[in-house]
């Protein structure tokens, strides 16, 4: 990489206006929400008290009966969800293997790298981007008002760098801090390419990631292609569990969604967009904390299809500490809930876009109902063991879930040609890792419901690189 080339600096004006939510009295809105929830809960209790004498069971039997029915429903939904995802993911992989378009389509691509205080990793990221097997692309680094030496490090990288197949133009935009969404919008606006690749500043792309993803744009209906995100910094308990989660929880679900061309979230570390689709959707918005989910929903709402390319890989640094992990999941959960709320019209009215309605209900279920069910089931078994002495129930519950996760993990590891050792983590995946995540999701949901303010924050990066 040739550093310190001759550069030209110019001032540009960026449009900072974006669609705003209707201004309303938030305090009143949340008070109204709490009031109505209270009224509904009270009504429910009154109905139970009123109908209780009419039943043949006593209170404790009714309680047990209700819990058993709830558990059976939970088990049914759990199994249905698993098998539906597994079957659809399997069908997608079959379809992908036989019908994926061949190469030979090399449109000009702009790779957008938003960076904020990434002095440790920005050079490595750009270096990895120059190793890409693609003949026709440029790199645009967007420095989002970093307070460390990111600007100086990035300026040294500007120039015509020697790529693997061609010379690659590296440009830099220095803008005041405004968040990832605004940084990406600046990059998209500057780009002259038909296809833009949005990634994270700390992510590294695999050499064939662009070539394999771009070929799907041959289909004019495809508005975006989601890549495959993998954990780079493995070897610790939480990062290994996240590595398993990415392949078992996220990628498998994305494969299943891709079977019907309705991927619901294009991941931040690698997402390719047709510029026209982004323009039609009104660019990234910063009114939610999950700008990826929001843009994806807007693109789907405009009738574009979204595909998942499993071999287009981006390696990202996952949070290694529990605190960092909770921070990330808190933001994801609240962001997804904000996106769902923002697009609630699409959720309620399937005549606008049936695909979006389906996607939104799936997101609602995964973000709200699923964690609540998991927590309730675990609490039930704890109470059953401590109060009623049915301690073996929790063992059978764990054994059933662990078996299900083991089979799924084996399938996913085989499909993705991943490390086999990750399969072992499936034994503690559901009862330990997912329980922590679900509790965080539940807490975040309550906070979102109450309208407690939140900030973006930034995960600490250690500067891990993929060798």
């Amino acid at each position: 990489m040739e550093l310190n080339q001759e550069i030209k600096k110019s001032t540009i004006i960026l449009n900072n206006i974006e669609e705003q939510e209707k201004v309303e009295n938030k305090e009143r809105k949340y008070l109204r929400r709490i009031f109505f929830s209270g009224i509904i809960s009270l009504l429910l209790i009154l109905v139970i008290i009123y109908t209780l004498p009419m039943t043949v069971l006593n209170v404790s039997s009714l309680f047990e009966y209700a819990i058993i029915v709830a558990l059976v429903i939970f088990l049914f939904i759990l199994l249905f969800r698993y098998f539906a995802i597994l079957v659809m993911a399997y069908l997608y992989i079959n379809q992908y293997t036989y019908t994926a378009p061949a190469g030979g389509f090399y449109p000009f691509v702009s790779i957008l790298v938003p960076v904020y205080n990434e002095e440790k990793v920005v050079s490595q990221s750009i270096k990895s981007l120059l190793e890409i097997n693609y003949p026709n692309y440029e790199i645009i680094i967007i420095n989002d008002g970093s307070t460390d030496k990111t600007k100086e490090v990035a300026e040294k990288l500007v120039g015509y760098q020697k790529g693997k197949l061609s010379e690659v133009k590296v440009s830099l935009i220095n803008k005041p801090n405004g968040g990832k969404s605004k940084a990406l919008n600046a990059g998209i606006a500057l780009s002259k390419a038909e296809i833009v690749l949005c990634m994270d500043g700390d992510s590294q792309l695999s050499p064939d990631s662009v070539r394999l993803a771009v070929r799907h744009f041959v289909n004019p209906e495809i508005g975006a292609v989601a890549g495959n995100v993998k954990v780079m910094n493995r070897g610790k308990l939480f990062t290994d569990l996240q590595a398993l989660e990415y392949i078992e929880g996220l990628n498998m679900a994305r494969s299943a969604q891709s079977f019907v061309r309705l991927v619901n979230i294009i991941p931040g570390p690698i997402g390719l967009f047709r510029k026209k689709a982004v323009e039609e959707a009104g660019y990234y918005s910063s009114d939610t904390f999950a700008e990826d989910a929001d843009l994806t929903l807007k693109i789907l709402a405009n009738g574009w299809k979204i595909y998942y390319e499993p071999n287009s890989i981006s390696y990202t640094e996952a949070p290694a500490k529990l605190q960092q992990l909770l921070k990330q999941r808190y933001r994801w959960t609240r962001g997804i809930l904000q996106s769902i709320r923002k697009h609630k019209k699409l959720m309620i009215n399937p005549s606008i876009n049936l695909g979006d309605t389906f996607v939104l209900w799936t997101m609602f279920y995964e973000a709200l109902i699923w964690p609540a069910m998991n927590i309730a089931a675990n609490l039930f078994f704890i109470v059953a063991a401590l109060v009623f002495g049915f301690s073996s129930l929790i063992f059978f519950w764990w054994a059933g879930l662990a078996l299900l996760d083991l089979v799924t993990a084996l399938y996913c590891v085989a499909v993705e040609k991943e490390e086999f050792r990750l399969v072992g983590y499936s034994l503690i995946y559901r009862m330990f890792f997912i329980l922590i995540i679900d509790i965080c999701k539940a807490m975040s949901t309550i906070e979102e419901f109450l309208g407690i303010k939140m900030s973006w924050g930034k995960l600490e990066r250690l500067g891990t690189t993929k060798s």
Partner: protein
């Protein structure tokens, strides 16, 4: 002692501990977040940014040259199912006098919609252009049927005129 009660106890303790750990970590996270909470600032409608690009030099010429031979995306037209795939043709291989093509000079990023027959696809892959074809080759292209002889593929008409074989 039986195995199931021991495992049950281990899992019960682990689950309760996980619950406590998750709630504790969450509370701790919230406490830490509260300290670093910053007030939101109104964003202006336009912001100034600095664009840093490579200075115009000899290298930019290299880039221009690199951009010219871009592949052109050919949109698939309604054709039989077995042919229904997008066709990519190199710009310099585009036929100029063929009725189905109307190539115009355009920027590299504009991908045109064209139609190409399988024979044309084959030619484009082999790196041959229609301009460079001889009349014999054109006859070869226009022939509906080909016959394989010791001299390779020959148009069926030519073979028929030879009078060696007549089909009834």
């Amino acid at each position: 002692m039986e195995l199931i009660p021991i495992l049950s106890t281990i899992i019960l303790v682990a689950t309760i501990s996980t619950f406590l750990l998750a709630i504790g970590a969450y509370v701790l996270y919230k406490v830490r977040e509260q300290k670093g909470q910053a007030a939101s600032v109104l964003q202006p409608s336009e912001i100034k940014a600095e664009l840093v690009t490579p200075a115009v030099s000899a290298t930019s010429k290299v880039e221009k040259e690199r951009i010219i031979p871009q592949p052109i995306y050919a949109e698939p037209q309604p054709v039989p199912a077995y042919q229904r795939q997008p066709i990519i043709l190199e710009q310099e291989q585009m036929p100029t006098q063929h009725t189905k093509f109307t190539p115009k000079p355009q920027p590299y990023s504009a991908y045109r919609t064209t139609f190409a027959t399988p024979v044309e696809q084959q030619r484009s892959r082999q790196g041959q252009s229609y301009q460079s074809m001889s009349s014999e080759e054109n006859q070869f292209r226009d022939s509906k049927f080909l016959k394989y002889t010791t001299e390779g593929y020959v148009p069926a008409k030519e073979d028929k005129d030879a009078g060696a074989l007549k089909w009834r």
